[in-house]
């Protein structure tokens, strides 16, 4: 029963990682790629590690895996934020077409700057 559970978790997690990779290919600009690269991959990693923790009887390994999940969850958004911000600041070619841009409304000088 536990084996089935951890198997399902790990396969789902691996699928999410594959989808994240495919998303990098399919999406057209840096900003939308950041969505594909960071979020499903983070959840995927968490699922794989939870699956692994169920399989490993030693509770100390569970603590380590939990720590990995916590660190991933606290650092992934920071990285995504910085890359996204840099891409936005780099100019229109990196940004792609944005239909509604309230940041540009508030700070026209910053978003019109070409990089």
């Amino acid at each position: 029963m536990l084996t089935v559970l951890s198997g399902v978790l790990m396969i789902t997690g691996a699928l999410l990682a594959v989808i994240a990779g495919a998303g990098l290919q399919r999406f057209e600009n840096v900003l939308s790629r950041m969505h594909a690269a960071t979020k499903p991959a983070t959840l995927g990693l968490a699922l794989v590690l939870i699956g692994a923790a169920i399989q490993i009887p030693d509770p100390r390994s569970g603590v380590k895996l939990l720590l990995v999940i916590l660190l991933q969850f606290s650092t992934a958004p920071v990285g995504a934020h910085l890359v996204g911000r840099a891409a936005y600041g780099a100019g229109p070619e990196m940004r792609g077409r944005i239909d509604v841009d309230e940041l540009a409304m508030d700070r026209p000088e910053e978003s019109s700057a070409s990089g």
Partner: protein, 184 residues
């Protein structure tokens, strides 16, 4: 204040280091402390220049648990949406950037909200303005600005209930007002 925060950071680093090695031994604790101190020396803890009444992060355990559950549900459903977008042919990407003025004055609470938004697929915190905090959130599928802003407000509301109940009482600032910034 900065000194206390540095000490806390070193203690935390030592704890994490020991947990990673998996056993509490003199060597592990010492090594963790040395590495923690070295890290603090390399990357000092930022001093908090804000006045003390600027608001701090206050944890309400039950509401925090509710926020965690809400966040995990969002994470899973939104991951499914983005995954579906990737595997189905055709592109319905409709990018947008939406302004979200925050009611909290605490940098810690603002960080929690910005991180929760960034971790939820489909939304990514792109820029943060201070005094007062305003998040600019990149949206993968923008249909209605007001609807998205409502969803983001819901994330904010639940985070405030958990970490800054006083700010949760305040009226939400109008999101459709332009905010002219002179500096960032």
């Amino acid at each position: 204040m900065t000194r206390i925060r540095s000490l806390v950071a070193v203690a935390w680093a030592t704890l994490v280091w020991t947990a990673l090695w998996g056993s509490v031994s003199v060597a592990n604790v010492l090594a963790g402390a040395v590495i923690g101190i070295a890290t603090i020396l390399l990357v000092p803890v930022a001093g908090d220049a804000r006045p003390a009444e600027a608001g701090r992060l206050r944890l309400r355990p039950l509401a925090a648990l509710a926020f965690l559950v809400f966040f995990l549900r969002q994470l899973i459903s939104a991951s499914a949406v983005v995954a579906w977008e990737v595997v189905t042919p055709g592109s319905s990407i409709n990018q947008g950037i939406v302004r979200l003025p925050l009611r909290t004055r605490s940098p810690g609470v603002a960080t929690v909200i910005a991180n929760a938004i960034s971790l939820t697929p489909g939304t990514l915190t792109l820029e943060v303005a201070e005094d007062p905090f305003v998040l600019y959130v990149h949206i993968l599928h923008l249909r209605s600005v007001e609807q998205v802003r409502g969803d983001l407000r819901e994330v904010e509301r639940r985070a405030l209930l958990a970490f800054d109940p006083e700010a949760a009482e305040l009226r939400a600032p109008e999101g459709d007002q332009h905010r002219s910034e002179t500096s960032s």
